[in-house]
C-alpha cells in the first residue's frame, strides 16, 4: 500500500507541472482559438535558459525561473507579433501549421547550438534533499517545483477571474467585436495572453532542470501532454486543465508502475479518448 501511495504522489507531483504548462496553452486556446504547437519548445528553451544560468554563473533554479519566465514571455510576444497576428486572418489551421514550423525552427536551433546531449543541473540548493511523510519519500526538487507550479496556476486563475485585466481577457474570449466596442484594445490583450502563455511555460521550464535533464526533444512530449490536458479539461478552462493534468499525472504514474512503463502513454491517451467520447467538450467544457 505504501508503494501505491508513493507512486500516486509522484504522479500528482508531475501532474502539477503539467498543469502549469497546460494552463498557459489553455489561456491561448481559450482566448484566440489557436493551438500553439511550439508550446513544448517554449518549455525546452525556458529549461535551457535556466540550465545555462545555473551552469555558467551558478544561479540556482530557484532564482533563475524569473529569467526564464521573462524570456518566454518575450518569446511569446515576439511569436504573436511576427507569426500569429498574421495567421488570425486566414483559415484556423494556418496558425497551427505556422507554429509547427516555429517548433521545428526552435528545436533545431537548440540542436544546432547546444548539441543533442542530455544536460542535468547538479549541485543545486535542493539537490538530493528529501522529506518523509510516514513511509513516503518526497524528493525536495520535485516537491518545491510542483508546489510552485500550483501557486502560479492559482495566481493566473485569480488574475483572470478577479482583476480588470482578467475581465478584459474574458470579454475578448467571449466576443471580440463586442469587447472592442467596450473600449478594450483586443490586439493588446491577444499580445498579453500569448506572453502570459509563454510566462507559464517559462516558469515551469525554469524550475525543471534541477531534476529533469534538458535536451532539444524534451518539449515534444510535454507539449503533447499539455494538448491532451487542455482538450480533456475543456475549452479554455483553467480549472479543467488543472484537474485533467492531475488526473493524467496520476494515471501515467500508476499505469507505468502497475501495467508496464512502455504502456504508460497508451494509458494516458486512452484515458483522454475515453473522456472525450463521453464528454465531447471536455470535463469542464460547455
Amino acid at each position: 500500500m505504501t508503494m501505491f501511495f508513493q507512486v500516486a504522489i509522484d504522479g500528482l507531483l508531475t501532474g502539477m507541472v503539467y498543469a502549469l504548462v497546460a494552463s498557459g496553452l489553455s489561456l491561448i486556446w481559450g482566448v484566440m482559438d489557436v493551438l500553439n504547437f511550439a508550446h513544448g519548445e517554449f518549455l525546452m528553451l525556458g529549461m535551457y535558459v535556466s540550465y545555462w544560468l545555473g551552469f555558467l554563473i551558478n544561479f540556482d533554479p530557484l532564482i533563475s525561473w524569473i529569467a526564464s519566465g521573462v524570456f518566454c514571455f518575450l518569446l511569446g510576444i515576439l511569436t504573436y507579433k511576427l507569426i500569429i497576428h498574421h495567421c488570425l486572418l486566414g483559415p484556423p489551421l494556418s496558425a497551427l501549421l505556422a507554429t509547427f514550423g516555429l517548433s521545428m525552427i526552435l528545436k533545431n536551433f537548440a540542436l544546432n547550438r547546444f548539441s543533442p546531449n542530455y544536460r542535468l543541473l547538479t549541485g543545486t540548493l535542493l539537490d538530493g534533499k528529501r522529506t518523509l511523510i510516514g513511509n513516503i519519500v518526497l524528493p525536495m526538487p520535485q516537491l518545491i517545483t510542483s508546489i510552485f507550479a500550483l501557486v502560479v496556476v492559482f495566481i493566473i486563475y485569480y488574475v483572470i477571474k478577479r482583476t480588470r485585466l482578467g475581465w478584459a481577457i474574458q470579454a475578448t474570449a467571449m466576443d471580440k467585436e463586442a469587447a472592442e466596442l467596450m473600449g478594450i484594445n483586443t490586439e493588446r490583450i491577444f499580445l498579453l495572453v500569448f506572453g502570459l502563455g509563454g510566462l507559464c511555460v517559462g516558469v515551469a521550464g525554469g524550475l525543471l532542470p534541477s531534476y529533469l535533464a534538458v535536451h532539444p526533444e524534451v518539449g515534444g512530449l510535454f507539449g503533447l501532454i499539455a494538448f491532451v490536458c487542455v482538450a480533456m479539461g475543456g475549452f479554455g478552462s483553467i480549472p479543467g486543465a488543472l484537474l485533467a493534468a492531475l488526473l493524467i499525472g496520476l494515471v501515467e504514474a500508476l499505469g507505468g508502475f502497475y501495467i508496464a512503463p512502455v504502456f504508460k502513454y497508451v494509458v494516458v491517451f486512452g484515458l483522454y479518448l475515453l473522456v472525450v467520447m463521453l464528454k465531447p467538450k471536455g470535463l469542464f467544457g460547455w
Binding site: S94, G101, M104, V266, F269, L273
Partner: protein, 338 residues
Amino acid sequence: MIKENTKKQDLLWYVLIVVLLLVPFIPQVAANSFTQHVFILILLYASMSQAWNIIGGYCGQVSFGHSVFFGIGAYGAGMAVVKFGITPWPGIIIGSLLAMVVAVLISYPCFKLKGHYFAIATFAIVEIFNRLFMVWYWVNGALGLDYPMVKTGWTNFVWYRTKIPYYYGALILFTTIFSIVRFIERNRFGYYLRAVREDQETAEATGINSTFIKLSAMALSAFLASFCGAFFVQYNFRVDPPMVMSLQVSMVFVLVTILGGAGTLFGPLLGALILIPLQEYTRVLWGGLGRGTDLMLFGFLIVLIMVRQPKGIMGLINEYLNYRKTRKIISAQPEINS
C-alpha cells in the same frame, strides 16, 4: 463557364500525365539517381497528400491520424515480405483493407468531436498506435522490419540497380489517386463532402447523412494512404514505427496539402513540388553537418508561407486568375457603354 473550366482542367491533366511519363527520358534525370529519387518522392508525397485531401480538404475534417493508415499499409507489405517471405501484393491488399477497417472503427467515435478536439484526438490515436507497434513482438517492435534480398521485378516490386521502375510505380499510384479525386470532385459524392465541410447542420437538413459521408470519405482516404505506405516501404526496404507512424509523418500529409491548397485537385501536387525538393536538397547541402540546419530552414519556410499566404499556393494562383478576369471585365466595359 464551368464546363469551359473543366475542359481546361482536363487538358492540363492530360498534358501533365504525358510530361510525367517522359520525365525519365530527360538526360539529366536519367543519369542522376538522386534526381530520380526526388521525382519519386514528389509523386509519392503528392499521392499521400491527395489521399488526405479527400477527408481533410474536401470534407474539412482535419485528421492528424493518417500516419496510422500509412503505417498499416507499410507494415502490411513489410510483413508479407519479411515474415512470410512472399510477394508484397497480398500484404498490400490485406493492409489496405485493414487500414480501412481501422479508419472506420477509430473515426466513428471521433467524428462526434469538432475542430481542435478532433485534431487532438487524432494526435492521441497516432501516439497510441506508435507505442503499441513499438512493443509488438510479432512485427519486430522497435527494431523494425529489414528487407531480405529478393528477386527484382514487378512480382516482388523491388529493384536494386535502377530507380526508373519505382518512378513508374509512383506515377501509377499518383495517376490512380488523382483520377479518383478528379472523379469524386465532379460527382455527387464530392458535392456532399463539400456541403458537410461548409456547414454540417445545413447539409443534414437537406437530407445528407453526414456521418455516413464522413466515414466513407475517411475509409477511402485511409485505403489510398495505406497504398502509399506500402509503396514507401517497398522503396525504402525498411520499416519501423517512428518512420511511418509518428506525428512527424502525419504532419507531412497536412503540410503538403495545406501548402498547396486544401480542397483543390492540384494543391497536393503543387505543395509536394515545392516542399520535397526543398527538403531533399537542403538535406543534401546541410543535413550532413548533423546540426539540423536544413530543418531550421524548412521550418522557417513553412512559417513564411503560412504567414504570407494562408490559403496556400492555389490561393495565390486563384487570386491572380481573378485579378486577370476582373481586369478583362473592366477593360471590356467602355465598349458596352458606348
